[in-house]
Subunit: 340 residues, 2 copies
Amino acid sequence: MTTPPRRPLTLRDVSEASGVSEMTVSRVLRNKGDVSEATRARVQEAAKRLGYVPNKIAGALASSRVNLVAVVIPSLKNMVFPEVLSGISETLETTALQPVVGVTDYGQDKEEKVLFEMLSWRPAGVIVAGLEHSETAQAMLHNAGCPVVEIMDTDGEPIDCCVGISHRRAGRHMAEAIIAQGYRRVGFMGTKMPLDHRARKRFEGFTRALGKAGIEMADQEFYSGGSALAKGREMTAAMLGRTPDLDFLYYSNDMIGAGGLLYLLEKGIDIPGRVGLAGFNGVELLEGLPRRLATTDACRREIGQRAAQMVLARQLDATLASEVVELEPSLDPGDTLLRT
Amino acid sequence: MTTPPRRPLTLRDVSEASGVSEMTVSRVLRNKGDVSEATRARVQEAAKRLGYVPNKIAGALASSRVNLVAVVIPSLKNMVFPEVLSGISETLETTALQPVVGVTDYGQDKEEKVLFEMLSWRPAGVIVAGLEHSETAQAMLHNAGCPVVEIMDTDGEPIDCCVGISHRRAGRHMAEAIIAQGYRRVGFMGTKMPLDHRARKRFEGFTRALGKAGIEMADQEFYSGGSALAKGREMTAAMLGRTPDLDFLYYSNDMIGAGGLLYLLEKGIDIPGRVGLAGFNGVELLEGLPRRLATTDACRREIGQRAAQMVLARQLDATLASEVVELEPSLDPGDTLLRT
DNA sequence: ATGAAAGCGCTAACAA
DNA sequence: TTGTTAGCGCTTTCAT
């Protein structure tokens, strides 16, 4: 690091500093083609000494190769998405590809904007949460000119590749487990529907399965915003207040479920004797709770890994066909579901 | 959307489809210069019909303007960083700038890699967590050729701009509050130090202030990995087992503090009569706990906002000088610190 | 093993 | 208001 330059350095600077043509410098810096050890060393020394950072913009334009994978998710506040991201990152870690994250805040307009923005950088692949997109967004994805992987959900028509779980089935399975345990007065708490398609599908699968067993949902409540843990408390208190004979509470995510659990324990209510509980997601947080909340593991890390692999595979062989993978979420009864 | 093309569309395609020069098409698409309403309409119609997505790579190369702001943080699993990100995003929302996130996993090597990768896209600004970087990383930031904002921490020498809190002072203040309440046998639980400089500085400030009051740390324990909530439980149980006369527990983050709180409540231990507790960060989660854990709010959202503003300001006026802002974290005693 | 020339898709600067 | 001409900094291709 000699004197810091105001103008970013170019290949030409390294070329002049090392007395080697730009072309050869380029080759060295990319470990391409045959270059003698002598020149390679000189070039590397010069590049390092100057503190040269290649300009990927120019490189990408010239080669029409971009090592970015666009990842579009609804939010970072819900721990679920960072976990999917981890799966993606760890899989891409050892490759040349790099994830770039865009957040939609559960909005279709925002999703359009984010997609447009990301696609204008011509990414090597797109990983996007969910199967529901605006017409415009669908069109953009169709014309993306790169592999597209829709993740988290398999209930719908994918544009290209897809990996996730069926939330309808997840809801149904939980309902079946609840019924099998003899619960009959079931309440549901969740996020306001239009915002979250997967939560909505779980709800639908859940209510339908209850219906088939001749059980009608005894009470339900939906929230948005605020501390999920606190909301879980409040909603649980309110619901049990107005429908005291409930014997099971199904929460659309573990966080509100945890809030409910803490509230009921405080009240000294017998779980699951008096009320059974279940959440959804299988988040790490549950491990530290006084009781293990029943939940369904949504395979988040694996979804991320598989999605990244799909993009990678299509990098190597662009002719690969679309691929749809439905993962099997596992129901963990914890300590709040099984009546012994 | 007529027939989906394999080759991405270019300005030329829109130019031909609309019978207007590339240059004018470019102007329309960027709302630049004077263009007649008639041509503007024709161009926009053509662009929309074809489904044209501009190539930012070419645009950036030609204009040497990139609307990306690199944000480099240690992790997404610690809710603190998504919150900082929210502050950044919401501030940039209404501007042309866009955040791009890189994660270092608390590793200096990884930080170097991520920085190099991001800088090679010539971002309009860099926002990076912490003041501790490898020599190489520091050199890169110096030569970045764009505003650099180091965030979260002010205890050290910033490269350019800086906004955060003094973690040493935060630790000291908590110690002073604890001492003022008459606690004398204090235990500390936190993350393994080398990974987290801010936690280390809080610890240092804390122990030093205790020392000045003639109090020596009675016990301490450090963890890494695993569910923070569960670790908080385990460590609390272990520590109280081996040092039963502790009257205060200071946790380096709210999550392990919450675990400790839940554990102690379960054991029926009087809080804060028998043991006082405090965490750090002021995370939303605390609102749903049975008791409000004492904590220090680390101003995360504001840090994000201020950092984004610093980058924005320097976009408009590149001559602006470096700026260092130390925010004042507020100590919230909750229900677990004050002996009434 | 190395170099020279052309051009990736766009925009700045100027001309008309 | 619109068009023309040069590049931006690299990589591809082809020569040497």
